[in-house]
């Protein structure tokens, strides 16, 4: 078992003929992920690594019964691509595209909520489950096994780059991951950590979770509330990065666009306090993730 992806996932790639998307498609296939179709308007009849390309997602859905889509479409066209996926009844949309204006993001997130469609990202590097051999997006690159081995730890990361590194820390601790989810570094994202944790709670394979936290947003308050209300009962280990930002002038952005402390909210120290108060193991040093995991697993 994994979360979000299963053996039932029927995957299409929107914007498959782009440079990045076609390279990632190759890596996903090499890892063993079954990709059924690709979409790039005007390029129907072509193929990418043997995967048929369609002009519309509708055609891909009719032929292949698609339920999962990975979006690589450039920012200016991404809004339409996501609406196309929602309109065609896709239930899981992973948006890799960075730099989509937030007005557009707010619109498609609202549309997705109305039909109970799950969006991961934007600005995600994807989802990976070593047990299911499913890799959606650039996550893990072409050397997946270096960081991702099957196991019982769920990983959640705001940072794309640190997604692989956190999974590698799990491996270094002698464990492996059930599913790793890169939730995206933008201020507006489809699925915040609390919703991912709820899924991990319901996943029998997952025994513990590791979460990479950055300044900005109130996600961790929601996580603390979830734990206190009994919605997540497994072991959670968190690392909170960017503590130095608190000593910088408020409102300055370091790192991801969402990493901004405004009007006193989103401070790492507050997050650490709230998480600890809810019983989360907050690692003082990043290396401590290894020792804490070894103790709890």
């Amino acid at each position: 078992m994994a979360i979000l992806v299963t053996g039932e996932s029927r995957i299409a790639i929107q914007g498959i003929t782009g440079r990045e998307a076609s390279m990632v498609t190759k890596h996903c296939l090499a890892y063993g992920t079954k990709i059924l179709a690709g979409v790039t308007p005007g390029k129907e009849g072509q193929d990418v690594e043997g995967i048929p390309v369609y002009d519309t997602l509708k055609q891909a859905c009719q032929r292949h019964n698609i339920n999962t889509s990975v979006v690589f479409v450039p920012p200016a066209l991404a809004y339409d691509a996501v609406m196309e996926a929602i309109g065609n009844g896709i239930k899981l949309i992973v948006i890799i595209t960075e730099r989509i204006p937030r007005h557009a993001v707010a619109k498609f997130l609202e549309a997705a909520k109305e039909v109970e469609c799950t969006i991961i990202g934007p600005n995600s590097v994807g989802i990976l489950s070593p047990t299911e051999k499913i890799k959606l997006g650039p996550i893990g690159g072409d050397k997946v096994e270096r960081c991702f081995v099957p196991g019982e730890v769920g990983v959640i990361s705001r940072s794309g780059g640190m997604t692989a590194e956190c999974s590698w820390m799990v491996k270094r601790a002698g464990s492996g991951v059930s599913t790793t989810v890169s939730i995206g570094g933008d201020p507006l994202i489809g699925t915040p950590p609390k919703d991912i944790l709820t899924r991990f709670e319901n996943d029998p394979q997952t025994k513990a979770c590791v979460m990479w936290v950055e300044p900005g947003t109130t996600y961790e308050d929601d996580v603390a509330d979830l734990i206190k209300s009994g919605g997540f009962t497994k072991c959670l280990i968190a690392y909170v990065a960017g503590r130095f930002i608190e000593d910088m002038p408020e409102g300055t952005v370091f790192g991801h666009a969402a990493s901004i402390i405004e009007r006193g909210t989103g401070k790492p120290s507050t997050k650490i306090m709230r998480l600890r108060d809810a019983g989360v193991h907050v690692a003082e040093n990043f290396n401590d993730i290894i020792t804490i995991l070894q103790k709890v697993m």
Partner: protein
């Protein structure tokens, strides 16, 4: 976010049918005196700096006469607001205000929708009003796909007790402001005070506007007027920072290089938005002091890495170099190696005396290993963690 200077935001408001005071932009006190006389007294003189809360800092003043205009202009021009020296002034005619209101439109990131905050008390700090007179403040969430209708604006102001002409005028302005918020992909649009003036009209007396960096390219007419990413600095860019911006912009589509000067002595070349936060925190925790903050990644060219490294190493007082990144998905480590080695050699740095530690696992690392070995630079991949690498540089500096 790109902060929009007030003269530009007021021009945009005017183009969209919203009244503002008449204004001029000047750079010295003589000009201020001239335009003030043209506008007619009294006038408002404001520092034209892209920071909020100018009133509190004394950078907004009223002048009744040419002498006073000149004197106050000179005074404000000598000020520095939040590290930004005041170089320009906005001189406006002072409004004859009968009622001051407040409105801001921004995003509520937990609710994931635009939010309007309106108050029947304007001209003061909204946080203060929200605390002391919460009944005078309304928070209204807008459906991003449905948009915002005039009747909703009317309900907001009516709920705050506005009647007759004020209600009509404030409704018209709020509705237009929301249309602008959408049209310009604004991340914030605040009017404080929203003034009802003696002849009954609504006028945007002071404006704060920010535009989404990711949408700026859609407004070529604004590209020269709005500084992209101006929320990433809290003071004007230094010469070295400008150099790195030039390095980055020379090849904007191949990777990113961001550089901010700090006070320490460890040259900091760390990758990614997340990884950089980790390494910076770790160095501080271990008692080290980074000479700068950096983010680089997205598979940059060796030329870009070279330019960035050179900037990092040319900062006076830099005593070491730490290159520390997460395991990369697509960044080619051999190109990074090439860029770093070129900068180190060109600056005649003796790698036997100047501590350098590199931890950079990822694509093409076998080649990177050769490049670093040849240059005599210590190179790690995933034999150590990111934190271990930070500890190594600190220990090396201790000797």
């Amino acid at each position: 976010m790109g902060r929009v200077l007030e003269n530009v935001s007021k021009e945009i408001l005017r183009e969209n049918g919203i009244a503002t005071p008449n204004f001029f932009v000047v750079t010295n006190e003589k000009e201020a005196r001239e335009v003030a006389s043209e506008l007619g007294y009294p006038v408002v003189i404001k520092a034209l700096v892209a920071v909020g809360k100018r009133g509190k800092t004394g950078a907004v003043k009223f002048a009744e006469s040419p002498e006073e205009a000149e004197r106050l202009a000179k005074q404000i021009l000598s000020m520095t607001l939040y590290n930004f020296p005041v170089e320009k002034l906005l001189v406006e005619n002072k409004l004859d205000i009968t009622q001051e209101l407040y409105v801001s439109i921004t995003f509520d990131y937990s609710k994931q929708t635009p939010v309007i905050i309106a108050s029947s008390v304007g001209g003061v700090d909204i946080e203060e009003i929200a605390r002391t007179q919460p009944d005078k403040v309304i928070k209204y969430y807008v459906s991003p796909s449905k948009g915002f209708y005039q009747y909703e604006a009317r309900e907001i102001w009516s709920g705050l007790g506005l009647k007759e002409n004020s209600l009509r005028e404030a409704t018209g302005m709020l509705w237009k402001l929301y249309q602008m918020f959408e049209k310009y992909n604004a991340t914030i649009l605040e009017v404080n005070p929203l003034a009802i003036v003696a002849d009954g009209k609504a006028v945007a007396a002071a404006v704060l506007m920010g535009i989404d960096d990711d949408a700026l390219s859609r407004y070529p007419e604004l590209s020269e007027k709005v500084e992209m990413g101006s929320d990433r600095v809290w003071r004007p860019l230094t010469a070295l920072e400008k150099e790195v911006v030039a390095v980055d912009q020379a090849d904007p589509y191949r990777g990113t290089a961001r550089y901010t000067e700090m006070d320490g002595d460890i040259g900091f070349l760390c990758g990614g938005g997340g990884g950089s936060l980790l390494v910076y925190d770790t160095l501080l925790r271990l008692g080290g002091k980074p000479a700068n903050y950096t983010e680089f990644g997205g598979n940059p060219t060796d030329t870009k890495v070279y330019g960035l490294t050179k900037a990092i190493l040319s900062k006076p007082g830099v005593k070491s170099l730490l290159v520390d990144t997460n395991i990369t998905n697509n960044t080619q480590t051999n190109l990074v190696a090439k860029g770093i080695v070129r900068a180190v050699q060109e600056l005649n740095i003796d790698v036997k005396k100047f501590p350098i530690v590199v931890r950079h696992p990822g694509v093409n690392e076998a080649e990177a290993k050769e490049v670093f070995a040849e240059a005599g630079i210590e190179y790690h991949t995933d034999d150590i963690t990111m934190e271990d690498a930070a500890r190594l540089i600190i220990n090396k500096m201790k000797g």
